[in-house]
């Protein structure tokens, strides 16, 4: 859910870089779909598949497992330079100028300004750096048990050496820290470019309707509102960018949905030099369910992985489209229309056992398709079977 907003906000502010989101394997397939619409690339990173080096050192220090997920961004060697953004950030304007910075540029942490905050940073992907980071982790650990401690001790010269690597605070404004210096916030707050929702209460924990009443007033809420506004905004027209359109042609599944989201991703993202990249997130406890219309995809057997979709676009497309109507305002209609074969209509009739189970799972997670298959109308039909 967070990643989706970051992606949307980047797009809306017209970034000219490629965007990549890195997701861990426990992010469900359904959840990845919307991300594919927003990002140029979705990279799945699996902790245990990430090579022996990682594996071994991970065995030595199991508590750092989660940390390594973030380090995976250094493996995106297709790109020369990237900007990493946490999934709990919100981009308020175009930030492409960050790519003029060098590794490792970051903004000071509001809590301890001699350390940088690892929510937004510029880096150069390199397998070499990656392995050194892993080594460093295995040897020294992380002083705070998370990625920020590790990165700060690895790039320990950040505080002293090069002032150009200090990003202005407006690139990583902690949404809950600025009250400590209120006048400064009033003076500079409106220049903020990236807001970072630190702490346990993420914007998606405030449900949309209540947050308006209860939290109005404070500055945090101003940003929470912005976040929700971004979330509810229609996906930006991808057609504006020629490359994206090509992409969507190749992968029909991309256009099918604007699923809002799954809370369990806490994606992080990265912009990179010519291309942009987003990095993966450690999984988070499931936060608030979404407010938007929720079309949940029953995982059709044929479409288990994005890979298989690409190989057999025709089948996949029909599989996807059978269950849901492409949401209005989405470019999705076109791919659906040319692939809706008679075969898919037959499929529509029978819901397989597997689909039923997955629908039940979605209920369990609080993501029922209340405007579609799970509408009360259908429940009523079930009830009426035994009422007479």
């Amino acid at each position: 859910m967070g990643a989706l907003v970051v992606g949307k906000s980047l797009r809306r502010h017209g970034t000219r870089r490629r965007t990549v989101v890195m997701v861990s394997p426990n992010v469900s397939l359904e959840a990845r779909c919307p991300l594919e619409c927003v990002f140029d690339e979705v990279v799945v990173v699996d902790l245990l598949d990430s090579g022996d080096r990682a594996h071994l050192s991970w065995l030595g220090r199991p508590e750092l497992g989660v940390t390594f997920t973030k380090l995976h961004c250094w493996t995106l060697i297709r790109y020369r330079k990237c900007v990493f953004l946490d999934a709990d950030t919100l981009v308020l304007c175009n930030v492409d100028e960050l790519f003029e910075r060098e590794e490792l540029s970051a903004a000071a942490d509001a809590g301890w300004p001699d350390c940088f905050n690892a929510g937004v940073f510029v880096f150069r992907p390199s397998l070499h750096t990656h392995s050194r980071l892993l080594q460093h982790a295995a040897q020294h650990g992380s002083f705070d048990g998370g990625d920020q401690g590790l990165l700060n001790s690895f790039f320990s010269d950040w505080a002293q050496t090069d002032i150009s690597k200090h990003l202005p605070f407006i690139y990583n404004l902690s949404a809950n820290a600025f009250y400590t210096y209120l006048p400064a916030f009033h003076r500079h707050g409106h220049d903020a470019k990236i807001v970072h929702f630190l702490g346990g209460a993420k914007p998606w924990h405030f449900s949309y309707n209540t947050q308006i009443n209860q939290h109005s007033g404070s500055q945090l809420d101003q940003y929470v509102n912005l976040w929700w506004a971004e979330y509810h905004r229609q996906a930006p027209p991808t057609a504006a960018r020629p490359e994206t359109r090509e992409l969507s042609m190749r992968k029909p599944s991309l256009v099918v949905e604007t699923l809002p989201a799954t809370p369990e991703i806490r994606p992080s993202l990265t912009d990179s030099l010519p291309p942009e990249v987003r990095a993966p997130p450690p999984p988070r406890p499931p936060p608030a369910p979404t407010d938007l219309t929720l079309h949940l995809l029953p995982p059709a057997p044929a479409s288990q992985t994005p890979h298989s979709m690409r190989t057999n676009p025709e089948d996949t497309a029909s599989d996807w489209t059978e269950h849901q109507d492409p949401p209005p305002g989405e470019g999705g209609g076109d791919s659906g229309s040319d692939s809706s074969t008679p075969a898919s209509n037959e499929l529509q009739q029978v819901e397989t056992e597997e689909e039923k189970q997955s629908r039940r799972r979605m209920w369990e997670e609080g993501h029922m398709d209340y405007l579609g298959k799970d509408a009360f109308q259908n429940i009523r039909k079930k009830l009426d079977r035994f009422l007479d």
Binding site: W363, K382, L383, F386
Partner: protein, 703 residues
């Protein structure tokens, strides 16, 4: 609408006859709710007060079913062996198959039987049951919603209990099961799904979605018909709960709500029109002495006055005998409870009283618990100062009395000028000096945790009611429940209500509204709205509610500003009343308490039950719809001219202590009026829309 008197005698006898005819011998009633012997919210009060009447009616065949919690059982329940053999077998069987079911008497009035089910003990079945629920009804329950998961367990266990009971009975039983609220609703659905021989009733006391929508500042009542309910519920993350609630309403033989307004809400949000409205009642305490409640009012009022003397020390520039006490009480929901409207109206009232140079002072109490850091020093000091002045006066009196006594002993009339010597004056001067204070009397009696964000305080700051001496309206915010052990205002809620003059409850969302009902049975007039269940009910039953001290604010068809003006005029009218007029009004208010007694209101439940039995067992019970659309009885206007100030405001030359105004006396005869009201209230028997007759011929065929 015809007055009730028009079909008094016949209908009365009809119903009596019918009551005897309706044979409940072989029927059993289970009343199932999550709040049976388990206080969580308001449903507890409903069930607990209603139990006495229902157990009088059903006797040994009445069982309440609720969840088992150890602490509640320790304090409220006496566990015993099941009396009913079929039920005993049922419980034994369930306990043998991995449940924990308890049987006992609930130690409340009427001491009804309770069956308590330990929900946690069968938590291991949760997944299997959720699967079954999914298969049968297509409803799933998220794992993180603990309350909803409890509802699943409770639902399956109650359905098991009822099914097992039906199986254990030798003859086909007539089981009637009454489910309250969505938490119990699943049991109802399962009864229907398993085709158990059970007549079912479902009662919602408010709808889930309605509460959420109102709390979200939606223009609720004007858009009631337009909501896309699935979407609204889904967006608010209560879709599964809403499904359970709506499914129960769908499946029930008879569906009821607590008020007319909630009926409309249910019709639009749950898509089923309630078959009958079952208002909530109270167990009215009758005093043997007439007008005992007036004496209690006087006593309690004196204690409130004492508190006010302390609170306003140094600023006591108003006459306490001409001071009217208003109050609002309830959960701290600023706009749902109408505190916003009340404050705004108080500001306008203040203006009105000032421009009209009124000598009446109004003190408005806000009793709404919020987060605080205990009492503030200024208010405690106020009470201490008052106490000190009292002590000073006492000791001066003592010395005064002694001198008086001595002078009498020597056979002389006392010389008044010598009675108080210099020392006395010094003492009194010192005491007066201590009562001086520079600041205004405080608004809030406690230190608020979120002082700057508190909605009431923010609103008071905006409208500028700061208890200054020129203000005719003073405000006191007591953000804690009242308690008789409080050092500030040592009274419990009931005493406090009795001491006030008017309760003001201008709620926007109030499915029933026990607060104004409680006021009424204590003989205290109140303001409610036509959006609250209570207001609707009173409007329907009384021709001229305001004469009886029931002011009903129109918030349904009017804008906020208009409603606020209306409230202001109610309050202004009330302030214009003489003391005598208020006494007459209180008498009338108190007479309405019969209307709110379960003895009267329980009948709605009775007809709901008969309706359900007739629907479920058409062979045994038959229910005849009555043609008449008359709903119960209606109080006519009071026989004598109402004390409403609209009539007397300008006629009475001086509305001070017009206690013994002869002119008024002629127009008002308490006993006569009361007698007329009593005659009217005998009528409730004509209430239901439908009448029900046992079909005796069918019955005998079966036997």
């Amino acid at each position: 609408m015809p007055l009730a008197r028009s079909w008094s005698v016949t209908s009365l006898s009809n119903l009596d006859e019918w009551d005897e005819e309706f044979d409940l011998e072989d029927a059993v009633l289970f009343e199932i709710a999550w709040e049976v012997a388990n206080k969580v919210g308001g449903i507890y009060t409903v069930i607990q007060t209603k139990a006495r009447l229902t157990s009088e009616e059903w006797g040994e065949n009445y069982f309440l079913v609720g969840p088992y919690t150890e602490s509640n059982v320790r304090t409220q329940v006496e566990l015993i062996e099941p009396t009913n053999p079929a039920l005993r077998r049922t419980i034994d069987k369930m306990n043998a198959s991995g449940c924990k079911v308890y049987f006992g008497r609930w130690l409340i009035e009427g001491s009804p039987y309770v069956v308590l089910i330990d929900v946690g003990f069968t938590a291991w079945s949760l997944d299997r049951w959720k699967c079954e629920l999914w298969e049968n009804c297509g409803i799933g329950v998220p794992w993180f919603d603990r309350e909803a998961n409890d509802a699943v367990l409770f639902g399956f266990l109650t359905a098991w209990l009822l099914g097992e009971y039906a199986a254990q009975c030798e003859e086909p039983p007539h089981i009637l099961a009454h489910f309250h609220e969505w938490l119990a609703g699943l049991g109802l659905m399962l009864c229907r799904q398993r085709q158990l021989p059970v007549a079912t009733i479902f009662t919602t006391h408010a709808t889930l979605l309605g509460r959420y929508l109102c709390a979200g500042n939606v223009d609720f009542y004007n858009n009631l018909a337009e909501f896309n309910v699935d979407k609204e519920a889904g967006d608010r993350q209560i879709y599964h709960r809403y499904c359970l609630e709506r499914a129960a309403a769908r499946c029930a033989h008879v569906f009821t709500t607590v008020s007319q307004i909630t009926a409309i809400e249910a019709e639009h949000l749950l898509k089923r029109k309630p078959d009958i409205v079952t208002p909530n009642g109270l167990n009215v305490k009758k005093f043997s002495a007439m007008h005992e409640f007036q004496n209690l009012h006087a006593q309690s009022k004196n204690r409130i006055q004492e508190f006010v003397r302390g609170h306003f020390y140094g600023h006591l520039d108003f006459n306490l005998d001409k001071t009217v006490f208003l109050f609002i009480a309830g959960r701290y929901e600023f706009s749902n409870k109408g505190a916003d409207l009340f404050l705004e109206a108080l500001a306008r009232l203040n203006y009105l009283l000032r421009v009209n140079h009124s000598d009446t002072t109004v003190i408005a109490f806000f009793i709404m618990p919020a987060r605080t850091n205990n009492f503030n020093v200024e208010t405690l000091k106020g009470q201490a100062v008052r106490k000190q002045l009292w002590d000073t006066a006492q000791s001066v009196k003592e010395r005064f009395g002694k001198k008086l006594y001595e002078s009498l002993l020597v056979g002389q009339l006392p010389d008044v000028s010598k009675m108080l010597d210099k020392e006395d004056f010094t003492m009194m001067k010192r005491a007066i000096f201590a009562t001086q204070r520079q600041c205004q009397p405080p608004i809030c009696t406690h230190n608020m945790l979120e002082d700057s964000n508190d909605p009431i305080l923010t609103c008071i700051r905006r409208i500028g009611l700061f208890n200054s001496s020129s203000d005719r309206v003073k405000v006191i915010f007591h953000p804690e429940f009242l308690s008789s052990t409080s050092p500030l205002l040592p009274m419990d809620y009931e005493e406090f209500v009795r001491g006030c003059h008017l309760g003001v409850f201008p709620s926007y969302y109030e499915p029933w509204g026990y607060t104004p009902a409680e006021c009424t049975v204590m003989g205290i007039p109140s303001v409610s709205t036509n959006l609250s269940g209570f207001g609707c009910f009173m409007e329907e039953h009384i021709a001229d509610p305001s004469a009886y001290g029931i002011y009903i604010l129109d918030r349904r068809y009017r804008g906020v500003d208009e409603s606020c003006n209306q409230l202001t005029s109610f309050l202004y009218q009330f302030c214009q009343q003489s003391r005598r007029q208020r006494i007459i009004q209180r008498n009338r208010t108190e007479r309405l308490s019969d209307l709110l007694d379960w003895r009267y209101l329980g009948r709605y439940y009775i007809s709901a039950r008969h309706m359900a039995l007739a629907k479920a067992f058409p062979d045994t019970y038959v229910y005849e719809p009555h043609d008449s659309t008359v709903s119960g009885f209606r109080y006519p206007r009071p026989a004598s001219v109402p004390p409403s100030p609209a009539h007397s405001l300008h006629s009475s030359p001086h509305h001070s202590e017009a206690e013994d105004n002869d002119e008024d006396d002629e127009r008002y005869d308490e006993d006569l009026e009361a007698e007329k009201d009593r005659r009217n209230i005998r009528q409730p028997f004509a209430l239901p829309h439908h009448r029900l007759h046992t079909n005796s011929s069918n019955n005998s065929q079966k036997n």
